[in-house]
């Protein structure tokens, strides 16, 4: 089957880029990966995403698609006959998956990031408490969506698994930074076990950045204020 010319502009460290790459792997689509250099934006990026100037950008037969969750849906729809479905098949299940994926980005991720940007112990403690509360919501969501199966999407990885799972590398880095467990086996056992399954999935494993390398990058991105 002809997939057309597929390029992805991104970076090894980006959660959002990883989403697109996992989706392309799930569909066995070959693509050219164009790694952006940290601190600069390439001509191609600026031309393909003039509105936001951000990665990832998928370029399929010279047509750009932007925003990670939109790219994942595009990949599912453009190559619907390839591999397994990424979005669930029933409208209600799709709505649930989209709802929680939006929650991950709009509420959960914001809280996680605020641990890295927190100034002082008080702010950090408050941020940690918020992440724990929101992770608890996601535990309940997992139980509801998975229905006893290994992934949010059921038997195999899908949209919501990708949306949350792509954060697992950074999740570990923030844990180290905060010196506090943020994915607790006893508090959120289902999510904990799901995380291990997700990271070991063959379409995910080669993409997950190494914790030490990511932690080093995090220190560049979120420098600590000098005491």
């Amino acid at each position: 089957m002809v997939t057309g010319d597929v390029k992805l502009i991104g970076s090894w460290a980006s959660v959002f880029v990883m989403r697109a790459r996992i989706a392309l792997n799930l569909k066995s689509i070959s693509y050219e990966f164009l790694q952006e250099t940290y601190g600069t934006k390439s001509e191609l990026l600026l031309k393909s995403n003039p509105v936001h100037k951000k990665i990832p950008v998928l370029i399929h037969d010279d047509k750009p698609v932007c925003e990670s969750n939109i790219i994942v849906q595009y990949i599912d729809e453009a190559w619907s006959s390839y591999g397994l479905s990424i979005l669930p098949s029933q409208p209600y299940d799709r709505a649930i998956a989209r709802f929680w994926a939006a929650y991950v980005d709009d509420k959960w991720f914001i809280a996680l990031r605020s641990i890295l940007t927190a100034r002082g112990e008080e702010e950090k403690k408050a941020a940690i408490a918020e992440v724990e509360e929101r992770t608890d919501h996601l535990e309940k969501a997992f139980i509801e969506c998975s229905n006893g199966k290994p992934f949010f999407n059921g038997d195999h990885i899908g949209y919501l698994d990708i949306a949350l799972g792509s954060f697992l590398g950074w999740w570990k880095v923030v844990e180290l930074d905060a010196n506090h467990i943020l994915l607790d086996e006893t508090k959120t056992p289902s999510l904990f076990q799901w995380a291990e399954r997700f990271c070991n999935d063959p379409d995910v494993k080669p993409l997950m950045p190494e914790t030490t390398k990511l932690a080093e990058f995090a220190r560049k991105l979120f420098p600590k204020p000098q005491a």
């Binding site: 509105v51 925003e67 939109i70 849906q73 409208p91 209600y92 709505a95 989209r98």
Partner: protein, 234 residues
């Protein structure tokens, strides 16, 4: 679909987000029971039960299953009643991605900038904010020209996803023009969007669904009074 379909919509008359599912349900000719939430009062039991995470409207309840978030609800309506009426999302994957991209732009960048500019007490922030809002409208004008290809709507001949998303804010823009003289829908700057806005408001699926501009003007005025009295109490 079965003959025992039960469709409820929880909303607030003023909310652009609640207008969106109403238009979508109209496009698909779906009958539903509407429940108005008390904007300034307490939230109903039904709302708290159906949307425990965000406690916000709109909420669509279809055969006792709640669906949340306005654009999510619109996609759900399009997929569930796909055999009825025209499609709301475009059919080609790239066009669907475009529709989702621009609606995310409206919801995540453009409208929050307008809201912030409207609320801020700082003149400097207001000016900066309004520039961003105007800049956004110019980008949306360009997007409209490219996507509509000479047809009246983003969706082509009929109202589609992106029309519903941006169109739900037209009432507020027109009301702010009446209340504040703020001319964001400026024919000299965004002629195509201005024409589109009027087409949108006169469409059969929108006409009796969006609130009357004068009612919105009155409400915006009331909101301002409440905001000011809240400030003077501190």
């Amino acid at each position: 679909m079965g003959d025992t379909e039960e469709v409820k919509l929880l909303g607030v008359w003023f909310s652009p987000y609640a207008i969106r599912p109403k238009i979508a349900l109209r496009i698909k000719s779906v009958d539903y029971d509407y429940f108005e939430e008390d904007l300034f009062g307490s939230k109903s039991e039904l709302l708290l039960k159906s949307n425990p995470v965000h406690k916000k409207v709109p909420v669509l309840i279809h055969n006792n299953k709640p669906i949340l978030e306005s654009l999510n609800i619109v996609e759900y309506i399009d997929e569930t009643w796909n055999a009825s009426g025209p499609s709301i999302l475009p059919s080609h994957p790239h066009d669907r991605a475009q529709a989702r991209f621009w609606s995310a732009f409206v919801d995540d960048k453009w409208f929050p900038a307008l809201k912030a500019a409207a609320i801020t007490k700082s003149e400097e922030a207001k000016e900066k904010g309004m520039k961003e809002v105007e800049g956004g409208l110019l980008q949306l004008e360009e997007a409209f020209v490219s996507i509509s290809k000479g047809k009246p709507f983003f969706g082509g001949e009929a109202i589609g996803f992106m029309d519903i998303c941006l169109g739900s804010f037209v009432g507020i823009l027109k009301a702010r023009e009446k209340l504040k003289g703020e001319k964001l829908l400026d024919e000299s700057k965004i002629p195509f969007l201005c024409k589109w806005a009027n087409e949108f408001l006169s469409d059969d699926t929108v006409k009796n669904v969006v609130p009357e501009i004068d009612k919105v003007v009155e409400f915006l005025g009331e909101l301002e009074v409440r905001a000011q009295s809240a400030v003077s109490k501190t």
